[in-house]
Point group: D3
Chain length 134, copies 6
């Protein structure tokens, strides 16, 4: 069984590698390489798998998951510039793929190891990422 809590955050970012020329960055990242950044409303689904606790009927209390996402994801990334404000991306290109990996690692560290974890991240309504640590 899996349960999910959904949340959102809004952030600016720019895709580029500082060790590449402007030409190479533009060729690979196109308009996502705008030096002045652009931004997104990210939607995040955090999926946790495990067994129902027969005491409560919960797999996990989703209010705790909501709070966990608040502390680990929204307090860090909401209304931020991922490249400039967030140490997680100081040396990591903030593609949607890398954002999903960073979020998974942040949550995995705080989540009881008896639970499985997977994250699903919408960068736009048309671009979606899923990551489960593998």
């Amino acid at each position: 069984m899996r349960v999910c809590r959904r949340a959102t955050f809004n952030a600016a970012h720019r895709l580029y590698r500082p060790d590449w020329s402007d030409e190479q960055n533009n060729a690979v990242f196109g308009k996502c390489n705008n030096p002045n950044y652009h931004g997104h409303n990210y939607t995040l689904e955090v999926w946790i798998d495990g067994q129902i606790d027969p005491e409560t009927g919960y797999l996990i209390d989703l209010k705790l998951v909501k709070d966990l996402i608040g502390r680990e994801v929204q307090d860090r990334f909401d209304h931020r510039n991922l490249n400039l404000d967030c140490t997680e991306f100081a040396n990591l290109n903030p593609t949607a793929e890398n954002i999903a990996v960073v979020i998974w690692n942040l949550l995995r560290e705080k989540l009881d190891s008896k639970y499985g974890l997977s994250v699903k991240l919408w960068e736009t309504q048309n671009n979606i990422i899923e990551y489960d640590g593998k």
Copy 2:
């Protein structure tokens, strides 16, 4: 291959254990423990996996799945109080997890064993459950 039919139902419920004190129920279930109940528009996706029938091009006729959901889920739970009106929850706390298990069991019993079955249940747009019988 998997095919899905989506449906909705609206119900009242309350989360609590009759063998717990009010304090304990409030500590665990918070405002979901309101003694006078609250309610939700539940959205259900019923996913069936199997092979395409080369005769028809259907894995299964989704009109049959629609009717099955109507009889087994909507006729039972729509516009009901899950705690008071539904024998399935007479001794079972109607958390979204338990509702998903009950629905899976009801459908599994009526669905040809050649098909796999999984259900996905939205309690709100932010709280989602998936269950496949394991």
Copy 3:
């Protein structure tokens, strides 16, 4: 110009008139008259019209509207039984129409009279109400 803040709340209710017979209540309200209640995830849009403040570029700070909806609507109605828990519906049938009127009146009283006000309420994805005080 109009600006909107969207919010949700989840509540139980029952449609009926205590001065009518069961037959009459069932004839008019059908399954919405279930004596044990059913429930909905209500979605609310609060629309405010006025002029842009040239100082701030805001018509009104939507964070204030979010807080206003929290205090006046969500604190009152979320995870409640509208018929039993909410004095607003002690003598008023909690149809979606009447809920919209009650919410409009609650917000109107707290909102600066220089602003126009309109509310839009989804009881389900298929049933929607709009009310602007007229």
Copy 4:
């Protein structure tokens, strides 16, 4: 890890088998057998799994996937009659299941074999298909 690009196309179709009688076609396919066709706004999610390229931070450039869907799916099927205009369905009943299989095969042929591929197709908001080649 999996990444997804979403796209849409609008098409007419009719479900029937030319080797069946009208009675049999109507019994199995009901109103989907209307001889003059009906139609849908199809929504497609193309899911690709693999590893993040440490150079770019992309699993795959989703702009390439967008273009691939444009050439292989939208240019073929958008604003077409699947039965009459599309050779893929000359001898294949255009059920949502078969459309998903055809799309998967078209994309699989053009996609580097190092990537896994899965497609999800909405025929309506209530009827959904998933296919990963198995």
Copy 5:
């Protein structure tokens, strides 16, 4: 006050004028002029304005509006070819604009004149029409 009932129907159509040349039809209607038709999932909102009935708390019973849409709109147009199967479009180009006008006229004729009427029609998620008879 206004209340709304939402519904859907799926249909094939083609945009063209029989008195125009192919060149002219293609120049104006582009790929919507495909001679073999294409199709859409149409979403319809029917908005009715009036006063709350103090007896029931309803402006109008939305179950009646649901049934009205079923009889007047869905039974006519769902799973049909608008050009070939529907007399309403025998001499009228089935643009979304004209479909909205036809639906408004069909509903207006059956709806008590004390109510105002407006319809909103989605041809796709990006193309929307509103018509109120003026």
Copy 6:
């Protein structure tokens, strides 16, 4: 009658007044005043009102409106920093209200004066603006 074309664009922005102190900017704009910017997926609906052209059955060709939005809105603002890259906001705080006004003015200038114009802008799923030039 009114017709609408929907489109999206993704941009970074920061809310602040250069002539205010940091304290004042933070007090009024809160986390939206992050000096390194944040961003949004904006959704835009462009509503045009007029009469159906009896020749075509169109109020206006929505492909032209799509192209107009592309040239006037998306080419200017998509994947841009509204504060730094867009002269429209060189001396104008890019609140959602002001963005809506700027878009309305840009479109109004290019749209035949026989049509009425209104825009609806989602900054997030919860914050929405409507502007019709008044």
